[in-house]
Amino acid sequence: MEEKVRSFLNSSFGEAIIKEDNFRGQQSFYIKPEVLIPICQALLENGELDVRFLADITSLDWLGHEEEKNGRFELVYNLYSLSHRYRFFLKVRLPGDSPRINTLTPLWEGANWLEREVYDMMGIWFEGHPDMTKILTPDELEGHPLRKDFPLTWEQPQFSWNKDQPPEVVR
């Protein structure tokens, strides 16, 4: 299955695949952001690979790490083939200022809340999403908590102890 996924992606989207990575038996492909929708569309239509299950969407922030040169934000799409019982990852790098990418909601309804969570936690905007609003944090909260420059101990919205203190960044 590993070989099948590789040859399918390389034959159809060879130029858009930046690199392939294999860590602890997990196959992942770094792809260019603009081909995400075509690749997912092609995977859904390919009956042989049968990649119909979008297990997860998550995001990473590489601020201050040497990996930042490839793009500060990393989106991880976790795809699973139910009949082949095989999991692989599509990874996309996005720049630090105003990161945005096309939404997957037309292909998978399940992407709706997963993308809303990424937006709320990491501040990545999904273009064309039907309901791009906060999902977990309070409406008054400013910023995106899982970004590395978001303070860990700063209470927000302020209602008890840190009204007059400057934010203190731990880590």
Partner: protein, 390 residues
């Protein structure tokens, strides 16, 4: 003034049938739900952010507090992910003990679900029976981890300490008692006309839609998709056990009820096999510098004491890379995506929460149905808000 056709009704966050602090904004046309919008986040505590700032060992107790009805499953998922990252192979006995505990957790979680779901639909006595049996499982937790809910018993590289002396007796007692009493539950609910009327044909989702909504666990299997990570991608020695994956047909709340009851039976089967076939061996892997040495060694051996001290204070350096480990928790696919930047703290821990993803399908389940079915739909998804909001 134009005539208002629909009424907006706010359900929750303080509502007994929402199992915690779920809020649903409903748009009603008479008794029919036109639109439903779940609002979550009232229990958000930033667990993922907290785990980033802690050493790998110190982040473990945070996992108990997500799905507090299935603490062992959460521990297991996190530990398996860290073990995959560090490339640690645990002893056979640990695998079997972990599988046994994870299955008891499934029994625990499904029993609470059964009780609360039944009481939502008016079967008051069911709650008391389910909690009576759950107490037996909590006794095993207490004997193992010293606590009834936040156990943190499964640790990176093994278990917190040796299994308690009468572990096998206690587990076999659960197997015997719960197996018998499941028949009583069936008598109370399976042929109960009120229960059937409230659940049959309610909150239906087709197999196609279930996959499209990324549902997992009983929500997916209830619609007839035979997918269980314990069989599909076995972890922690599940390939050694003989068990069936029950599937539903119609994808309604009644099928999911029958399926969860059958899952309890299969879990008991696995727990019994695990007890009967449990191999001898150490309760923790021997990986100096990464896995904590056994407490007996720390007291008498200098190297062990040094390693113990170093692991607790500075932790261990993980290699650069990212791993994803998914397990079949009682609610569905529970995944941990751990990204390491090469330091002694995780760069990012992402929890793929099954209840969160399953709850996203709530509007699809209730739109077009009667208002009173919303309670049944929420119950049949089996959510724990601690995990949804994290």
């Amino acid at each position: 003034m134009p005539e208002e056709k629909t009424v907006t009704l706010n359900m929750g966050p303080q509502h007994p049938a929402t199992h915690g602090v779920l809020r649903v904004v409903l748009e009603l046309d008479g008794e029919t739900v036109v639109k439903a919008r779940p609002v979550i986040g009232y229990l958000h505590t930033g667990i993922e952010k907290t785990m980033e700032s802690k050493l790998y060992y110190h982040a473990l107790p945070a996992t108990d507090r997500m799905d507090y009805l299935a603490p062992m499953s959460n521990n297991l998922g996190y530990c398996l992910a860290v073990e995959k990252l560090m490339d640690i192979e645990v002893p056979e006995k640990v695998k079997w003990a972990r599988a046994c505990l994870a299955e008891l957790t499934r029994v625990n979680s499904h029993l609470v679900w059964l009780g609360t779901h039944a009481i939502d639909l008016g079967a008051m006595s069911m709650l008391l029976y389910a909690f009576r049996e759950r107490e037996l499982v909590l006794d095993v937790y207490e004997a193992c981890g010293g606590q009834r809910m936040m156990t943190s018993y499964i640790r990176i590289g093994g278990l917190a300490h040796e299994l308690p002396k009468d572990f096998d007796k206690k587990v076999l007692k659960i197997v015997k008692v719960v197996r018998e009493r499941l028949n009583d539950y069936e008598k109370l609910l399976t042929d109960n006309e009120i229960f059937i009327n409230r659940t049959k044909g309610v909150a239906v989702i087709s197999a196609e839609d279930a996959i499209n909504y990324s549902l997992s666990g009983p929500m997916l299997r209830g619609s007839g998709v035979k997918h269980d990570l314990r069989k599909a991608n076995p972890y922690s020695g599940y390939e050694n056990f003989d068990f069936e994956i029950p599937v539903g047909k119609n994808g309604d709340a009644y099928d999911r009820y029958l399926l969860r009851l059958e899952e309890i039976r299969q879990s008991l089967r696995i727990a019994q096999q695990a007890i009967e076939g449990m191999p001898e061996g150490p309760y923790r892997a021997h990986v100096p510098g990464v896995v904590l040495p056994p407490k007996e060694d720390v007291l008498y051996k200098m190297e062990s004491l040094i390693f113990h001290f170093k692991i607790i204070t500075e932790g261990f350096q993980a290699p650069f890379g990212a791993v994803y480990q998914a397990i079949e928790s009682p609610k569905g696919e529970l995944g941990f995506y751990i990204s390491s930047d090469g330091s002694n703290k995780p760069h990012r821990v992402r929890v793929r929460p099954p209840a969160f993803v399953n709850l996203a399908a709530l509007p699809r389940l209730v739109e077009g149905s009667l208002f009173s079915d919303v309670v049944c739909a929420i119950g049949s998804i089996d959510i724990v808000l601690g995990e949804v909001d994290r």
